[in-house]
């Protein structure tokens, strides 16, 4: 065998070895991510399952961990989500419709688009500062459900707008042209031809953005969700608490009993998020109009 051939054979063996090594490394990294998820879920389930029960869902927070429950937090999260959706969904979908269907390509449109991209990257705690100054102080909503919902609505807007735009963009042009050719105005076209078709994917985007709202903690801490609430909110100006804030409060306490409570509340929170995501996927598959 010539020297060159020996080299070539060795080169090939080396390259093949490298190929195998990289495949192993890649699989290991994927396995790492999967392991982390499993370990995280296992840890929380093991810590929290013992505390789960009907009384955990129907009791208010308490000084004694074994008597504490998440009633106020669960109901607060639910109300906050509804109120946030009521504020953010019309505005978000409206903004998406404007940008997709009406806007002309000019500097103001470009400014709006750049803005939405950047707002999506602003840390959530900054939205908390905005809410604290605008809603809590200037508009004198105090530390209320409404102030929290307004803050969360601003936070959710970029997500809803982006999702709704994608939904609108997926509607074929022919549908719009057909409607316009029948003499419909642009708004009528959007209202009666485009929106109904785009609705499933917009709805999916809305639910996913609401699952972000339900899991968000930092801005609500800044805007002032209290952890100790022994009554359900009876108006939009009531003080409130939500699940993540309650969880944070319990984690921050030194007693082990409260940590168990936190884990149990996390299980409830994750179950809630899972349900919402499943609902989103179900709606996407169920309502999708075939064109």
């Amino acid at each position: 065998m010539s020297v060159a051939m020996v080299h070539a054979v060795r080169w090939r063996a080396r390259e093949r070895r490298r190929e195998v090594i990289f495949q192993i490394v890649g699989a290991a990294m994927v396995l790492f991510a999967m392991t982390m998820l499993t370990v995280l879920l296992a840890k929380i389930l093991l810590d929290g399952y013992a505390r789960l029960g009907i009384s955990f869902l129907t009791e208010y927070a308490s000084r004694r961990p074994e008597q504490a429950g998440i009633k106020a937090a669960l109901v607060g999260s639910f109300y906050l989500m509804l109120l946030t959706a009521a504020l953010a969904v019309p505005i978000g979908v409206g903004a998406a419709i404007y940008l997709e269907e009406f806007a002309r390509r000019n500097w103001w449109t470009r400014l709006i688009e750049i803005n939405i991209t950047n707002l999506a990257g602003v840390p959530s705690v900054i939205y908390g500062l905005l809410g604290l100054q605008v809603f809590v102080r200037t508009l004198m909503m105090e530390r209320s459900l409404l102030a929290g919902a307004c803050t969360m609505a601003l936070l959710a807007l970029p997500v809803i707008i982006t999702a709704a735009r994608e939904g609108l963009r997926a509607v074929p042009r022919s549908l719009r042209e057909g409607s316009l050719a029948l003499g419909a105005t642009q708004w009528q076209t959007v209202r009666y031809a485009v929106l109904p078709v785009a609705m499933p994917s917009i709805l999916t985007g809305i639910i996913l953005s609401m699952s972000r709202v339900v899991g968000e903690t930092a801005p609500l801490l800044v805007v002032g969700a209290f952890a100790y609430i022994a009554s359900l909110p009876n108006s939009v100006l009531s003080p409130f608490t939500v699940l993540p804030v309650q969880i944070y409060d319990w984690i921050a306490r030194p007693q082990h009993g409260f940590h168990q409570n936190a884990a149990a509340a996390i299980i409830v929170l994750l179950a809630l998020l899972l349900t919402m995501n499943a609902l989103a996927i179900y709606l996407r598959n169920r309502l999708q109009v075939r064109l």
Binding site: F22, P123, L129, L132, T217, I251
Partner: protein, 328 residues
Amino acid sequence: MANKASFRSSLSHANTEAVAQGRAVVQIQRSSRVRWRVRLEEKVARFVLFLCASLGVVTTFAIVFILISESLGFFKQVPLKEFLTGTHWAPLFRPQAFGVLPLVTGTLLTTLIAIAVAAPVGLIVAIYLSEYASPRLRRVIKPILEVLAGIPTVVYGYFALLFVTPLLQRFIPGLEGFNALSAGLVMGIMILPTVASLSEDALYAVPNSLRYASLALGATRLQTTFGVVVPTAMSGISAAFLLGISRAVGETMIVAIAAGQQPNFTFNPLRAVETMTTYIVQIAMGDVPHGTLEYSTIFAVGLLLFLITLALNLISNAFRARYKGARL
């Protein structure tokens, strides 16, 4: 008789004609009213939708305005130089100190640890998914990444404080109960899906013709990946890394729970640190009275945080625009 009849019929004919004409007039009037209403509706809808879209701009200006106007009071009393170069941060103690550097290094330290985990793991996962994995494996792994991305950060905080820290303390004796290391590691897991899926998008956008050309020249798959595909996707991968860094800088709950709330000026990952975000939450939750110098510190810190993340996001977007614009 016949005349009379014809007259009558012609009369009735004229009559119906007049009635029809009248109806037409009414119809025209009505349709013009409808048209007018439709046109009004169109204008109103367009205007309302325009207002909706413009709210984003208003939000941005409100954020900038509030952060600047509220920190002005702070910077009147504390010189900018002291704020940016001081190494001692103690606004709530006497004597007060307003050097923001401990908060900046705390943020930097946790972010560096996070990106040290998320960048290599995220990139390798992205390469593996885009260049090696079978479609079936992709269908399994992608949802797992999405689940990781959807877990609330307070849950990661719990995991960092009550699982990772006790675990690491077994191997690292000097590890404090609150420390930058476990907060950073868990934050790395949190941003991993962002880095991985954006990098994968960039790799996926590389046209197959480049891969075929490289393979046809006799390169192996690994050589093709690292010699051709990754360099081509580099601007998209950089965008992914920068966005990951930006998210780590702005992340609040993991560090507030697991990294501590002591503004130590240190680069020792085994010690407790306080990040900018943690400080904002800590003061906003406390009972510092509104309008005081102590209260205005959160807006000064918030302004700094906003500027840092804005810069990172703008560079990231520029990178992404470059790979989206590049036609190969």
